[in-house]
Symmetry: C2
Subunit: 228 residues, 2 copies
Amino acid sequence: MKLYELSGADDEIRFSPFVIRIKMALKHKGLDFDAIPIKFNDKSLIEPSGVKTVPVIEDNGKWLGESWDIACYLEDIYPDKPSLFGGEMGRHQAKFINSWSDAVLVRGLFPIIVADIITHFTPEDREYFIPLREKLLGMKISDTPKIRDKTIPKFNSSLTPLRTMLKSQPFICGPNPGYADYSAFGPIQWARIASPVELIKEGDPVYDWRERMLDLFSGFARSSKLGY
Amino acid sequence: MKLYELSGADDEIRFSPFVIRIKMALKHKGLDFDAIPIKFNDKSLIEPSGVKTVPVIEDNGKWLGESWDIACYLEDIYPDKPSLFGGEMGRHQAKFINSWSDAVLVRGLFPIIVADIITHFTPEDREYFIPLREKLLGMKISDTPKIRDKTIPKFNSSLTPLRTMLKSQPFICGPNPGYADYSAFGPIQWARIASPVELIKEGDPVYDWRERMLDLFSGFARSSKLGY
């Protein structure tokens, strides 16, 4: 199994929130994989997949992109390995939680950490990335740290559903984690790798959950190289 | 099975978002029940339950409150009836979606519809309800319609995770609904019963989902009496 993912100028700084989901899913399934770094402005390695975004996997000659599709592929092709969804109703509910994670976590974290993210890029990737994202943000990336007094409290408040739930169970999926946890952890770990801003404080149930996620698979995610 | 729920001055106007979840869950399980109206300022009928909020059920001499606990009770005591959760991972993910529904839907809808809600109350219930809620809101209930230009767009934007997911599946739980759907439908139906404000427009995937929810169980929720 090959997994293609974005890296910074330093090949070991690997921050894509969508790839992190799949790395955790591969560990959950107990599948070995080679993680291969690519850059924003050179995606030739993933061309056979037909998609232009990471993650992309190559498994027994099959190419596949889109983190949700990959998670479903892993569940269906490796049904004897630990389940990511716990059945069909679990899979569909995970899709909702994945949508929540995209709409609330990825989108909420982006303006907070983007100024830090770009410091890890190659000059070519900065040139590729900045104009597109500034158009989406409607502001200069260099101005985003100035509005953290608004973006950080808004992000923290958006964690309420996760925070409340974590008071009665250790993971979104129950006593043990599943894909819904990996889906939410992806963006949280993205922020942890890319930015020194401490968004989630000790004492917060979300902090404890993140610690549990970092401990999984012998500290797999904890061992990721941080960009600062 | 007896189900205790709040009603307006008109006994047939029954709007509690938390009760609606349980009514849908009871229909899902195919269980018959008597729905008994109570008022905010007279909760003597539910005293044996030890809780002060609806829903409360009385089933074979057992009293139970809190919608989430009731849903779990129904799943565990009636395992041969259609499942609400589809397994343990599904149950725990539903807890997250239930938290999301509380934090985002109930809390987001409240300031939009509260001025309409209180029109349905008895004078005694208004007296009981208004001071407590105005303290929570930090404003006069009579002023809340004036900020709908802010509260309605904010609510609509908070539906993004549901809206996005509904583009690929008809219900949160997949091809068929489950408790996660009822959990989200409770507050949406609360707003539909209590307020004439049209929050969800035709053409929105959330509108189509609501229509499907209203159609379930021979149009059970569609037949609820509206307060306007």
